[in-house]
């Protein structure tokens, strides 16, 4: 097994007390990200998991500097991220985004070569362009690279297109890749190869990655650590082996319980709809749907769940009144 060797070092990318608010229709405010502390270590693959609307994509975009936080800060190599054009452009060489839908991410009228070379041209790196493009394509598994230079996206399969998108991210030799549902739009049998590619890039190039996904199986397949989000907050954060086999937060437990052949008992299907970031409940924000509160196992802390706000997780752990109490 390829075990990630993650020495305790300075985090590569991190954020502190991060908040992102949006104006929602009707003069309301959506608290998409509402207090997040997170650390990405060098060479680590971190999964950001949760249902749609939990804020995971907004968090990823903010880590990339595509969204400006309304509170808190993003740090890269220990220094706060600047939002001037020049600073962001420099950051863009270090941190690259891989989008969900490769068909939408590629310009249909650009050849593969142009798509991959675009990043180099934006950054004025005209030297050795051909070699760099060929190198990025072959690292993304498109070999021989020259064969793909003149191809247009419609001539490629879905898996090949996603490899082109990944090559476009690799061409600038970034240290971090942020991938938003990197295989969600791909055929099932092709997913494995793309995920294997992300693992290989980590092992061979030491690339770190944040992978945004709703798919816990994907996290199990490639991630070292996982942060589970609910309504703009991280509710559980830790090693994948730990969090997914012995989930402690009732929300994580429910998510894991509905997996086929789940490592935790009976399926616990949460009722109700995914929550609304414009109406964050008081107390623990998960309390209206919490199965532990409903079945009485959290009776001892029920008042806290309804009224007392939880502190923001500062390190791996669980944000839950029930788990905060010594057993």
């Amino acid at each position: 097994m390829t075990q990630a060797v993650v020495p305790v070092t300075e985090p590569l990318l991190s954020c502190r007390d991060l908040g992102v608010r949006f104006r929602a229709p009707g003069g309301r405010t959506a608290r998409a990200v509402d207090g997040v502390n997170l650390e990405l270590r060098p060479g680590e693959i971190l999964a950001l998991a949760g249902e749609s609307g939990c804020g995971k994509t907004t968090l990823a975009r903010t880590l990339l500097g595509l969204e400006r936080p309304t509170a808190g800060e993003v740090f890269f190599r220990g220094r706060p991220l600047g939002y001037r054009g020049k600073d962001l452009k420099a950051y863009r060489r270090e941190a690259q985004l891989v989008l969900q839908d490769p068909t939408g991410a590629l310009n249909p009228r650009h050849t593969v070569y142009e798509a991959v070379a675009e990043g180099l041209r934006i950054h004025g790196l005209h030297h050795d362009e051909r070699e760099r493009v060929a190198d990025a394509l072959s690292r993304a598994g498109l070999r021989p690279a020259e064969k793909f230079f003149m191809a247009y996206p419609h001539e490629l399969s879905g898996g090949q297109r996603q490899r082109v998108v990944i090559a476009g991210a690799l061409v600038l030799d970034p240290t971090v890749i942020i991938a938003d549902e990197p295989v969600a739009s791909l055929d099932a049998s092709v997913r494995g190869e793309i995920l294997a590619l992300l693992l290989r890039l980590r092992d061979e190039l030491g690339l770190s990655a944040v992978v945004v996904t709703h798919d816990l199986g994907l996290a199990w397949n490639i991630a070292d650590r996982i942060a589970v989000m609910y309504l703009g907050r991280i509710v559980e954060y830790g090693d994948v082996d730990e969090v997914l086999t012995r989930p402690r937060h009732p929300y994580t437990r429910a998510l894991v319980s509905i997996l086929p052949d789940s490592p935790v008992g009976e399926p616990q299907i949460l009722t109700g709809e995914p929550p609304d970031a414009t109406q964050v409940p008081g107390g623990c924000r998960f309390h209206p749907r919490c199965p532990a509160l409903r079945d009485g196992s959290a009776a001892a802390v029920a008042d806290d769940c309804r009224r007392t706000r939880l502190p923001v997780l500062g390190e791996p752990g669980v944000a839950c009144h029930l788990r905060a109490r010594p057993a």
């Binding site: 097994m1 390829t2 075990q3 990630a4 249902e51 749609s52 399969s157 879905g158 898996g159 090949q160 055929d187 099932a188 049998s189 092709v190 997913r191 494995g192 190869e193 793309i194 995920l195 294997a196 693992l199 709703h214 816990l216 199986g217 199990w220 397949n221 490639i222 994948v240 082996d241 997914l244 086999t245 429910a254 998510l255 894991v256 509905i258 997996l259 086929p260 052949d261 789940s262 490592p263 399926p267 299907i269 949460l270 009722t271 709809e273 995914p274």
Partner: protein
């Protein structure tokens, strides 16, 4: 007992500007009343074409041969009047994007009542009463009856579609990626609902998805399609865990079991891509991607072979693996 659905040597060819495209190339299967079948496969394998053919929903000019019997009645030779009567009443389909096909300016209770009024000739008021009962069955509160589709979430709208599919008590429901666009938790809600409703009412279910694990959780039997044919057909859990066709095995491996240490940091998939239906490889169409292909696979067009009664796989290795098992 007459099967609800009896498909025999179904072949469907689209005729487009690129020439003929054989989407379904000889599929046979039967479904007894109340039976649940999961139909798995990837884009272009012909699974949605097969589903649409059952109610003759294919575009004009599509060539269809073979036989489709619905409750013993031949769908392919039915007159239009009869076909209209059969749709919704005998069999209904829920598509992936079905929630987008609701009429945006009509209250949902009226839309659910519509097929009841049309097919059973009941008064609208009585039909709407039944619609409210159906809403309760799919977990939508009665006060939602007067809502318009835009007031509902995606999961709720998909429940409306399921209520409509149930409205005329059909013998068969075909759910084509009916929960794929939904969030995991909502998907689990809708799947549990669908599973209990078909069991309660002895409705036969064909559920189509690319996700073998979802199908295995919901259906008794599993059929795996590749390049327009069934490549494996058998008891769901066994096909999922001990597939005999390397393609089913690859597809099953694409959805790892969380907690399975063999899958930890070891994503599995298949090399290459699903084939273009217009240019299928010769021999076994899967051989270029097959991790265990034999020389003979490039030239032999394999049909379904018995693994044991009720379980078949279209792979040259089937007899060998069978013996190895004994």
């Amino acid at each position: 007992m007459t099967p609800v659905l009896d498909i025999d040597d179904l072949r469907i060819t689209y005729h487009g500007s690129r020439g003929p495209i054989p989407a379904v190339r000889g599929v046979s299967l039967t479904l007894d009343p109340g039976e649940t079948l999961g139909l798995a496969g990837e884009s272009g394998c012909g699974k949605s074409t097969l589903a649409a053919a059952v109610l003759r929903l294919l575009p004009p000019g599509t060539e269809v041969t073979g036989r489709i019997l619905l409750d013993g009645e031949d769908v392919l030779t039915m007159g239009w009047g009869r076909l209209r009567a059969v749709r919704w009443a005998r069999a209904s389909i829920v598509f992936q994007g079905a929630m987008h096909s609701l009429n945006p300016v009509q209250r949902i209770v009226r839309q659910i009542a519509e097929p009841i009024v049309l097919h059973e000739g009941v008064e609208r008021a009585a039909a709407e009463d039944r619609a409210v009962e159906l809403m309760a069955a799919v977990g939508l509160p009665a006060w939602r009856a007067k809502s318009y589709p835009h007031e509902l979430s995606g999961g709720q709208r998909q429940r409306v579609m399921i209520a409509m599919a149930l409205a005329c008590s059909p013998d068969l429901i075909i759910a084509d990626e009916a929960t794929t666009a939904l969030d995991v938790m909502i998907q689990a809600q809708v799947l549990r609902l669908l599973k209990s409703l078909v069991a309660e009412r002895s409705i036969a279910l064909v559920m189509i998805s690319h996700d073998l694990s979802v199908l295995t959780d919901t259906c008794e039997r599993l059929a795996v399609m590749y390049a327009g044919r069934l490549v494996e057909y058998g008891p769901a859990h066994e096909v999922f865990t001990t597939a005999r066709h390397p393609y089913s095995e690859g597809l099953a491996g694409a959805f790892p079991t969380v907690g399975d240490t063999a899958a930890r940091r070891r994503p599995r998939g298949l090399p290459g891509d699903p084939p273009d239906p217009a240019a299928l490889p010769g021999g076994c169409p899967f051989h270029p991607r097959c991790p265990v292909a034999l020389d003979a696979c490039a030239t032999t067009d394999v049909t379904l072979l018995d693994v044991r009664p009720g379980w078949r796989a279209a792979c040259l290795r089937v007899p060998a693996t069978k013996e190895a098992d004994v």
